[in-house]
């Protein structure tokens, strides 16, 4: 249904901003404490393996979208059921982000404003953006990504006088268990959530290489997360970081150089708000595409309106306040595992077996035809 083809650069920007926006939802300082920056590096390396898996799946069926592949591999009914479950996952992921996004705006800036007023501005725009198609989300992301990169770079440079490199010591002191724990949770969220951006390849240029595009996005997002983690750790120290809800915002809030450079935490607020919107966009696009695949209405983004409202309401059904949303964060990776690892892996293995069988059958068929021709000639 999409008329314009999305370019690889746009999808890379979407993936990068989606990863950057995760720092709104998930604190970059996990169980590995002062070693959290090492965890980010390892998780980026491992997430390239995940990207390889998604890329291999897309390569196996180049003329199919990510969600259509499930129908191709598992059959119509089971494939549509998986699309339905994917829609539920995308709505859940979007609900989590949307709730924290609204709470962030309320806590940080607009204490007295009713949250529904913020929603009245943001929700119709987000729905419109998704209904305009993935190319539109890609174009927005391509424009917003340099802004995010400049702001993170700037806050790092301005934060240097307030940093203490001793906060990173003892290096690897958190122990192997915490390191593995932290790596796994960072791998699943944010990097594993790239799975929600994979449906973008269904409307992408045929010439682009999905693996290269995903790796580029992951590397940019990973570099920003690494910079932000190092900045936060060196400014606040790991134990203090764990006390804050929005670590980046509070770490940068400390930076003040004379009267001229102060209150630059606004930059982080803008960053989180912009990348948060892209993150919600990606979840909403994945949800509406999954719903339309499950209903057999290929490629329609019309369910974006009802899925968007559902995301908002689900956030308020799930959580009473910001603290209960934060308490739920450790469970998010566990919910994501089937969608990020299990379903794609099973689809890849089944798809490979099917394609090998098809090739063999085609080979046998060609052989039989050749034999028939020889017999007739004789």
């Amino acid at each position: 249904m999409e008329k314009r083809k999305t370019t690889g650069r746009k999808i890379s920007s979407v993936i990068a901003l989606q990863t950057i926006g995760s720092s709104l939802v998930i604190s970059s300082i996990g169980p590995a404490m002062q070693d959290s920056w090492i965890v980010v590096i390892i998780a980026v390396g491992l997430s390239i393996l995940l990207a390889w898996m998604y890329g291999a799946l897309l390569k196996l069926y180049p003329d199919r979208g990510f969600l259509q592949i499930f129908q191709e591999v598992f059959g119509n009914t089971a494939g549509k059921a998986i699309c339905g479950i994917y829609a539920a996952y995308a709505v859940f992921a979007g609900a989590q982000t949307f709730y924290i996004y609204n709470e962030f705006i309320k806590i940080v800036g607009l204490n007295e404003t009713p949250q529904v007023a913020i929603l009245m501005v943001s929700l119709p725009l987000i729905i419109w953006q998704v209904r305009s198609g993935p190319d539109n989300i890609g174009s927005c992301s391509k424009f917003l990504l340099p802004i995010a990169l400049i702001f993170v770079g700037l806050t790092f440079l301005l934060g240097i006088p307030f940093m203490d490199a001793d906060n990173l010591k003892p290096v690897l002191g958190s122990g192997p268990t915490a390191l593995v724990h932290g790596t796994f949770s960072t791998l699943v969220a944010p990097f594993g959530e790239t799975v929600l951006a994979v449906p973008f390849f269904g409307v992408a240029d045929r010439n682009i290489k999905p693996l290269r595009v995903m790796v580029k996005g992951i590397l940019i997002g990973g570099a920003v997360l690494l910079t932000a983690t190092l900045r936060n750790l060196m400014i606040l120290g790991a134990p203090t970081c764990r006390l804050f809800l929005f670590v980046s915002y509070d770490a940068v809030g400390i930076i003040s150089i004379g009267d001229f450079v102060s209150r630059i935490s606004v930059l982080i607020g803008i960053n989180l708000a912009l990348s948060g919107i892209v993150r919600i966009d990606v979840s909403l696009y994945a949800a509406s595409l999954s719903v339309s695949e499950a209903l057999g209405t290929r490629g329609s983004t019309r369910p974006a309106a009802c899925c968007g409202l559902l995301m908002v309401v689900l956030g308020y059904i799930l959580y009473n306040n910001m603290l209960s949303a934060v308490d739920f964060i450790p469970y998010i990776p566990a919910i994501g595992i089937p969608f990020q690892f299990i379903f794609p892996l099973i689809a890849l293995i089944t798809g490979r077996i099917k394609s090998t069988r098809r090739k063999k059958q085609a080979g046998n068929g060609a052989g039989e035809r050749q034999q028939c021709r020889e017999n007739t000639e004789n």
Binding site: I127, S300, Y319
Partner: protein, 76 residues
């Protein structure tokens, strides 16, 4: 969303916009019908939830869901 009236207005406006623009971009009529049948119960649920939440009922299902998932699911 504690503001009952405003949240109902938001839901109604988005639902109206959705139904008014349905099928305007030349999509398959059968598919549009199917999507409409899907969205009607979703909007009904959202309105119901708006009313429940707007009346001050706090569901807080997150911790209950976490309890259901069990401590073995806690990662990180």
């Amino acid at each position: 969303m504690p503001d009952l009236l405003l949240s109902l207005i938001l839901t109604a406006a988005i639902a109206a916009a959705d139904f008014l623009t349905a099928g305007k971009d030349g999509g398959d009529a059968k598919a549009e019908k199917r999507l409409t049948w899907f969205s009607v119960p979703v909007y009904a649920f959202v309105i119901f939830a708006d009313i429940v939440l707007g009346l001050g009922v706090q569901l807080d299902l997150g911790p209950k869901l976490a309890e259901l998932l069990g401590p073995w699911m806690k990662i990180g």
